[in-house]
Each structure stands twice: as C-alpha cells, then as structure tokens.
Amino acid sequence: MRRTADEERRGNAPRGGNGPTGGNDPTGGNGPTGGTAPTRGAREWVLAGARDCVPVALSVFTYGLVYGLLAAQAGMGLGEIALASGLIFAGASQFVALDMWTHPLPVVALAAMALAVNLRLVLMGASVQPWVAQSAGSARSARFGALKAYGAAFLLADENWALTMGALQRGAAGKAGGPVDAMAYLAGSGGLLWLAWLSSGLAGSVLGAGVDPAAWGLDFAFTAVFLALATGLWRGRADLVPWVCAALLAVLGERFLPGKWYILLGGLGGSLAAALGPGPAGRASGKALGQAPGGASRGGGATGSDGSDRGGEGGHER
C-alpha cells in the first residue's frame, strides 16, 4: 500500500512547480532517476530526516539551554517555558518575548512581535509548499493527508527547512535514493528539533535557578544573544541603511513611547526602509513565492543570503 502511495506520489510530482523553480526543479528527481531508484516509504523518510538532523539538534540544544536560563531569569516558570517552547517553537520570537515579559503581559504587543519576527516562516513554508502539496495530495485519504501536512507545518523551523531543501535538491540530482517525501522528511527532522528545543529549555531553566543575574552580568545576556543573532542575519551592504534606521527609530522610540513599542517601531521602520529602497541588483521582480526564496538552491545547511533561512534557532553553529 505504502509503495503504491509512493509511486502515485512520483506520478503527481509538481512538474515545473510554480514557475521558475531554479535549481530545485522537482521534475529532475522524479523523471529519469525515479523509475529505477528504490522507493522509500514515508516512515523511512521521517527517520532519514531525524538522522540528518542530529548535529543540528545538538546545536539547537545548546541554544535552548541559554533560552531556559534567560527565561527563568525573566521570571517564567517551568510550565510557562514548556508551553512556550512546545507550542510556539520559534526561538527568535521566544527570546524577544523574554524582554517584554513583565506582568501584566502586553499580550497584543507580544502577538504582534511574534508575527513580525516569524513572518519569515511564510517564505520558508511557501518554498517547500509544492512538494508538501504533492505528498499530501497523494495520500490515500485526502483528509488524512491534509492533517499530516498541518502537523508537518507546525514543525517547520529554520533548521529543518534548510535540511529539507537540501534533501530535495539531492533528490532532484538523483542522490537521495529515490524521490524525497518532503512532508515526512520535514516532520522527522522537525520532530527531533522540537524535542531538543523543549528539553533544553526546561533543563536550562533548572540549571540557571538561584543565580542572581545582575551580580554576574547576566542581565546583559539578553542583549548579547540578540546581538549575536543579528550578526547571523547580516546579509551585506544592503542591510546597512535599514539597520541604521531601525536602530535610530528604536532609540527615539524607547525615549518617547511607553513600554516596548520601540521594538516594533524600529523593526517596522527599518524593514520598510529596506522595502522602499533600491533592491539588490539582479533580483527579478514579481517572483512567485513558490519559488525558493534565495537560499534554497544552495542546499541544506547553507545560510540563505536572502532572509529565508534566518533568525531563530538557526543562525549559528551550522
């Protein structure tokens, strides 16, 4: 049965996908090589994803320890950390939330911040979408397929997005041992990341308990983490003007606005400057989002130059 589904999957390959799919043309893998290569089932692709993700999960674990320590320092209990890491599962936004974590919590500002920081996931999801739609559509029960896809979407993060794009590319080159089941691979690698992120957050909070932050300069750890994350996001000269705008607006906003609104002011102002300014040379306009934004054709682990593979748990130690 599984085999049948896989064969069907191959048949339903998104030929040409959404227009110019660049180096990731899925027809490459499912055409000439697809017929002869041994076909793997979805379960095997889940395991393959998890296996490929082990080194990345280890670095996410270190990063999660830091998160747990800082979360405890911000006054979050174990239950709250479990809820945050288990349900939000997006490092950068969770870190930023710690800086805003003063009761009564600014719920609207927190949600707006999470939306802004995680909007990059829209681009990442869109870039794997043709393959995921394919695996969902070929499942025997369409409803079950959709359910699985919604589950896999929950596990989408910077790291396993990059791994999955890499696997798809190896698949397209006929080096992955058959056509890659993107949804299964994403779920397998994402599941491992989820476990690493959740467990390390809890461990970090326990390890960091009882430490007086200010006495050890740990109050600066927030700032240090954000600065380090920012260097991981630096893409070159094109970022200079937006980042300077963001910094100036934030400094002004912090002086004249209540609460933490300066973060959104600077973030939105800087990014709008990036949008309104001249685009990087050689960049075609009006691309289909289905096309991998920038970094995708460079394979797994490579950091996209284009903002798709950024922030969060992943900017470091790849």
Binding site: L78, I88, L156, F220, G270, S271, P293
Partner: protein, 106 residues
Amino acid sequence: MSGEFLTIPADSWTALLAMAGVTYLTRVAGFFLMGRVRLTARVERWLSALPGCMLVALVAPVVLSGGVAEAVSGALVLAVSWRTRSLPAAMVAGVASIWLLRRLVA
C-alpha cells in the same frame, strides 16, 4: 516549590497561546495559501528584512544609550559572534565583559 513553578498565570496563557497561534499561522500560510500568490519584490524585501531589523531595534537602546560598559561589551559580542558564529561563545564573552567593565567603573 515545584508546584509554584508549574503554575501558569492567566495572562501568560493568553500571551503564549496568542504567540503560538500567530506563529502557527505564519507556518501554515506558506504551506497552504501562498503557493498561488505572487509577491512583489518589494513585499519580499520587506518580509526578509523584518527579523534583522526587529533584533537591531531590540538591542539598539541598550547598546547605544546604555553606557560605556554596554557599548564596549556590545562591540565585543559582535566581534566574537562574527568570528566564531557561536551563540554561546558570544554570550559568554558579552557577560564576562560587562561584569569586568562594571567592576572597573564602579
């Protein structure tokens, strides 16, 4: 003790669920909705510049108007992170530097 740690205040529930909700929305939007939508280069530039600018906005007031110790430590963090690409290393450098500098100033 542990029971107290496990208790989740009402506003934390609201905030965490709201954050989880919008985050999931961003994941699902790309998966299910955006395949057919064409983004202009401008919108794509905006989306991809957003996370970096948010981080810069977050740290700018502390580093730029927080004092000498903060500014110097911030620069050190940038240098270490740039060279090592390791988040823990950058954090340790920053914390050690601020600890030392505050001690020297005080």
